[in-house]
Each structure stands twice: as structure tokens, then as C-alpha cells.
């Protein structure tokens, strides 16, 4: 899979980490809430591995912080999620499963959305945000207190 330097493509602002490399990702149907955005780049966050950013090539202000499910401990809801994905055929090494990370400023906790993982087919760079119809999967699975 090819990579390219996305540094020049991003608008840098104070406090934002500059991306160093990025993987092009195409999402035919966009993301829920951002259906018009179809071209993205998955970029590392320097000094903040394993976190990555999903950046829009079409809307420079769009960036989501994501975590690969493989970087999280295989327990509780994450096991349920992995099993649900297997049932849907997402099981081989050619896919990456990313969870969107959110900061709840009120509770001061980081959560990941286990109900709607972003699945990327590494063979062709296509991706989509799946929505799993399983009530055991929360949209705000808490990672930890900070």
C-alpha cells in the first residue's frame, strides 16, 4: 500500500500535531453526518502512537482521532465488537478496524464508539463506517479517566 506525505496538504494551527504520513482512504458513502465527504487520509499523530487521525481531503477542518481496535485490550464490548465484525465477514488481515475517539469534556473521559467502527479494506483503500445493530455495543465505551 502506498503512502504519501500529507504534511503540505493540511492546514496547521497552534496545538494541532502535524501529520507525517498518510494512507489514502475512499469512502463512497461518506460518514454519517458527513455524507458528502468521500476522500480521506489516515495519518499518524507524531509522538502519539497508537493514535491516528482520519483527515478529509475535501474539508480541511475535518479530523477524527481514531484507534485501531488491535491496540486495545480484547475484553468486554471490544470482544463483542470483534465477533460481530467476524459474522459480517470482516476477519482477515487485509482489513483495519478503527474506533472513533471522543473526549467527553464534562466527565473528562475519552470514549470510543464501538457501535460504529470504521472498517478499511487495505487492499484497495476503500472504507466505510459500519453501524452494528447490537444493543450491547455502546457509542461511548470509556477508555479511562484522564
Amino acid at each position: 500500500m502506498s503512502t504519501y506525505n500529507a504534511t503540505a496538504k493540511q492546514t496547521e494551527s497552534a496545538g494541532d500535531p502535524p501529520p507525517v504520513s498518510a494512507l489514502p482512504v475512499t469512502m463512497k458513502y461518506g460518514l454519517p453526518g458527513f455524507e458528502s465527504l468521500t476522500r480521506f487520509a489516515l495519518a499518524d499523530v507524531p509522538d502519539f502512537a497508537p493514535f491516528q487521525m482520519l483527515l478529509s481531503e475535501e474539508e480541511k477542518s475535518f479530523s477524527l482521532l481514531v484507534l485501531d481496535i488491535k491496540t486495545l485490550p480484547a475484553e468486554n464490548e471490544l470482544l463483542i465488537l470483534a465477533n460481530d465484525l467476524k459474522v459480517k465477514g470482516i476477519r482477515d488481515a487485509s482489513h483495519r478496524t478503527l474506533l472513533v475517539l471522543k473526549l467527553d469534556r464534562l466527565k473528562k473521559v475519552f470514549t470510543v464508539n464501538t457501535k460504529a467502527p470504521i472498517v478499511i479494506d487495505m487492499k484497495d483503500g476503500s472504507g466505510r463506517q459500519m453501524i452494528l445493530d447490537n444493543p450491547k455495543l455502546p457509542v461511548d465505551y470509556q477508555l479511562t479517566k484522564v
Binding site: S63, L64, L101, R128, Q129
Partner: protein, 75 residues
Amino acid sequence: MLVLTRKSGESFRIGSDVIIRILEVKGGHIKIGIDAPSEIGIYREEIYLKVVEENKAALSALKDMDLLKELKKLF
């Protein structure tokens, strides 16, 4: 909005490859079956809207680097 009246067992089609069939009408509930290509997402509206809300709320996570540094300590 297009409004159609259908009885149990009847169906309607959206485009050439999406078929929606009324399977059962009982009390205040309607059970429907949907045949559609696998690449078309089919979601309960309230769940889709919840994911929209979560995605929009997640946009700001990268802005607070101090909190991100704290979270990084766990990895």
C-alpha cells in the same frame, strides 16, 4: 414524501435492487423485510442519528493536546 398503502405480504421496490416487504402488521408494530445489495447500509433511524451526533462530537478530540498526553500514558 411518497405515501404508499400496503397489506401484509405485499411489497414495494426502491430502484431496481431494493425490495421492501411487509411481513406482519400486529398491534402498533410492523415487521418488514428488506432485500438490498450488501453495500447499502440499512439502519434504524434513531441509531443512525446517534452516530451522526457522535461523529460531530468527536471532531474536537484532537484539539485538547494536554488531555491527549494524559491518555497516551496508558499505551
